[in-house]
């Protein structure tokens, strides 16, 4: 027992959290494995593509990085709002409107290179903020349930966006419902040739750092976290709960909107979204995987991107449908969000540790 030292219970908890995430991922992958075995005629072949496909060529890995960008934005947006304990689902709609806003600037005005893209990104962020603000204001002002109002707003954003696209942005010569093509000045340049990985990856990383600093190094971030942990305590310690809730939705909406803008300007030549992109809901999975901490968001986003790209490659090369990923995701979310999952084991660890501590002291 000599060389085994005791830890503070906080270190144990942190270590335990990591362990828990790994076990949850392990279990879900195991289920995926069983499903693939069940569904495929050549399960081993399917598995190979699923697990190793994304790193077999640079281009496949490029796909992972491409997907990593919007997933990071989605995760950050949700994390800021979840930290404040606000289940605002309008991030999904904000992502969509952010793309639309960026497209409007990209197609509608002429500007010099870099500035054009920056203005388009900011416009996207602004669109995102407007949408995410609505459920927040309804909640603060009239205590209207933000889950319900934001779910409905997503549909309104979609139909509103399709109207704008069809009646204001549409290029009749495109042959399908799409805007005029974006000028080069507004597009985000590709940085890895032969892949679609674009400048947006840097923007995403910068936003990760900024969001972390905002949440953990500013008084606003502090207010958001305290409000999320205990609204009553926040009230007593003099934090304006209402304005804090609104602030967190502004930040979340801006991140989602900018994510939509980055995606549209980086991955598309025209705006042609006719359905919600889904990155807002993906953001929930990522944020939960990352424990709502911006520090871990890139890791979680990378993991999910890897899974998705692996599943796509698998479906192209074998007979397994890529939708198997959705089952993996659900299991991961439930197990990680489940505070009591492996709890007895954690308690044992803590008890053992304190026994050790007692021994050492004695």
């Amino acid at each position: 027992m000599k060389n085994k030292q005791s830890y503070s219970s906080k270190t144990i908890e942190n270590r335990f959290e990591i362990f828990r995430v790994i076990v949850a991922i392990g279990i879900s992958l195991l289920v995926a494995l069983l499903l693939i075995m069940f569904a495929s005629k050549q399960p081993l072949n399917a598995l190979k593509w699923f697990l190793a496909g994304p790193i077999m060529t640079m281009r496949n890995f490029g796909n992972v990085l491409e997907l990593f960008i919007p997933l990071t934005f989605g995760g950050l947006s949700i994390a800021v709002m979840f930290q404040c304990n606000q289940f605002n689902m309008a991030a999904e709609g904000s992502f969509f409107l952010g793309g639309l806003g960026a497209a409007m600037i990209a197609v509608g005005v002429k500007m010099p290179s870099v500035i054009h893209a920056v203005v388009a990104l900011l416009a996207g962020a602004l669109f995102g903020v407007v949408l995410c603000l609505i459920p927040a204001i309804l909640k603060v002002k009239w205590k209207a349930n933000e889950v319900v109002s934001s779910l409905m707003l997503n549909y309104i954003a979609l139909f509103f966006g399709s109207y704008i696209l069809q009646y204001m942005l549409m290029d009749p010569d495109a042959g399908y419902i799409a805007s005029h093509s974006f000028p080069k000045s507004a597009r985000l340049a590709v940085i890895i040739p032969k892949t679609g990985v674009h400048m947006g990856i840097f923007i995403a990383i910068v936003m990760v750092v900024l969001t972390y600093l905002f949440l953990y190094r500013t008084k606003w971030g502090y207010a958001i976290r305290i409000t999320g942990q205990n609204e009553n305590f926040a009230k007593y310690s003099g934090i304006g709960v209402g304005s804090t809730i609104i602030l967190s939705q502004i930040a979340g909406g801006a991140l989602a909107g900018m994510g939509g803008a980055t995606q549209v300007l980086g991955m598309y030549t025209r705006f042609s979204w006719v359905s919600l992109p889904g990155y807002g809901f993906d953001g929930i999975i990522i944020s939960i995987l990352a424990k709502n901490n911006p520090k871990f968001i890139p890791l979680a986003a990378f993991f999910l991107a890897y899974l998705r790209v692996g599943a796509d490659i698998m479906s192209r090369r074998s007979d397994v449908a890529p939708e198997v990923v959705s089952i993996i995701q659900a299991i991961i979310v439930v197990l990680i969000a489940g505070k009591m999952f492996l709890d007895t084991y954690k308690h044992k660890m803590i008890v053992k540790n304190s026994q050790r501590q007692v021994k050492e002291e004695a």
């Binding site: 809901f281 959705s326 439930v334």
Partner: protein, 309 residues
């Protein structure tokens, strides 16, 4: 315009309102029962979708619509149990569990559909069955009223019957009393010896049953096939209907009927000279307006009570 007005005040329009209300009403009741016990079930959309598929597959496999419905309900119960275990035993936030179920259902049903039918769009290759439509003997013969109320699918009548059953359960049984106590104050409920976890397990199971009947209605009543994402947001609309339903079964029937009517209206207004996108927005915009009105009224009421105290 006159043509539209004529349609709206026709018997067939009101018939379609009832038809459109059915899935929303069932899911809204499912939302109500959990909400009264202090649990928010936003996984209804996913449960409906999974049950819709289960019903179709089972009815084709066993050549029996009734067994199809039973399997749909079993699916709903299983999901109710999964939600309950995750939220109550594993202590995951129930909203996150609901989201997880919705995320899973959309892809998972396609995965299963593909494994069974080799088709990712719909179940046309399965010879599935539907629940029968019922002509009510006496009412069916009354001129206008008969053509509105009679001839619906069996599940539609079950939906409206459920309003009464849930009312009975909530207000006339000991279990109902417990459910309401748990919802209002779980700590107090615990202190008088009510097993809160057990009650919440029960409501999530009931919720699963109701939502699954709603799902079965989509694929075995409304339509006679399963097709991908066929629930198309009705589970979310139901949450809104529940939020506006003043927390009572009858109130929820009212708000569900409003949504059914809004949907029917949106369907009929497409012939007018309005961009189709705005017409499609009607049900959702109405929800938000309704939510605001309801919240404002509730706040005023609460303030009044506060003052009188």
């Amino acid at each position: 315009m006159n043509a539209v007005m004529a349609t709206i005040f026709s018997a067939s329009f009101l018939f379609s309102v009832i038809r459109l209300t059915t899935p929303i009403l069932l899911a809204a009741l499912a939302a109500l029962i959990t909400d009264r016990a202090g649990v928010m079930n936003i996984g209804l959309e996913g449960i409906m979708l999974c049950s819709a598929l289960a019903g179709v597959v089972a009815s084709a496999a066993f050549h029996s619509a009734f067994l199809g419905l039973i399997f749909a309900i079993i699916t709903g119960v299983v999901f109710g149990l999964i939600m309950a275990y995750s939220a109550l035993n594993l202590k995951a936030d129930i909203i996150l569990v609901g989201i997880a179920i919705n995320l899973m259902a959309s892809g998972g049903t396609i995965f299963v559909l593909y494994s069974i039918c080799g088709d990712k769009g719909n179940s046309t290759s399965l010879k599935s069955l539907t629940m029968p439509s019922i002509n009510i003997p006496v009412i069916g013969n009354i001129p206008v009223l008969g053509s509105i109320l009679s001839g619906h699918n069996l599940l539609t009548y079950i939906a409206f019957l459920s309003v009464f059953l849930i009312w009975l359960l909530l207000y006339k049984t000991p279990l109902g009393l417990r459910i309401r106590v748990v919802g209002e104050n779980p700590n107090a409920a615990e202190s008088v010896g009510i097993n809160v976890r057990k009650i919440q397990y029960i409501v999530l199971i009931i919720s699963g049953v109701l939502a699954s009947i709603g799902g079965a209605y989509m694929s075995m009543g409304y339509m006679d096939k399963f097709s991908r994402d066929m629930v198309a947001g009705r589970g979310f609309i139901a949450l809104a209907a529940e939020a506006l339903g003043t927390g009572t079964p009858v109130g929820i029937m009212g708000s569900s009927l409003i949504f059914g009517a809004a949907d029917a209206l949106a369907t009929n207004l497409q012939v007018l000279n309005i961009p189709v996108q705005f017409v499609q927005m009607i049900p959702y915009a109405l929800t938000i307006v309704g939510l605001i009105v309801y919240s404002v009224m509730r706040n005023r009421k609460e303030k009044k009570i506060g003052i009188s105290k």
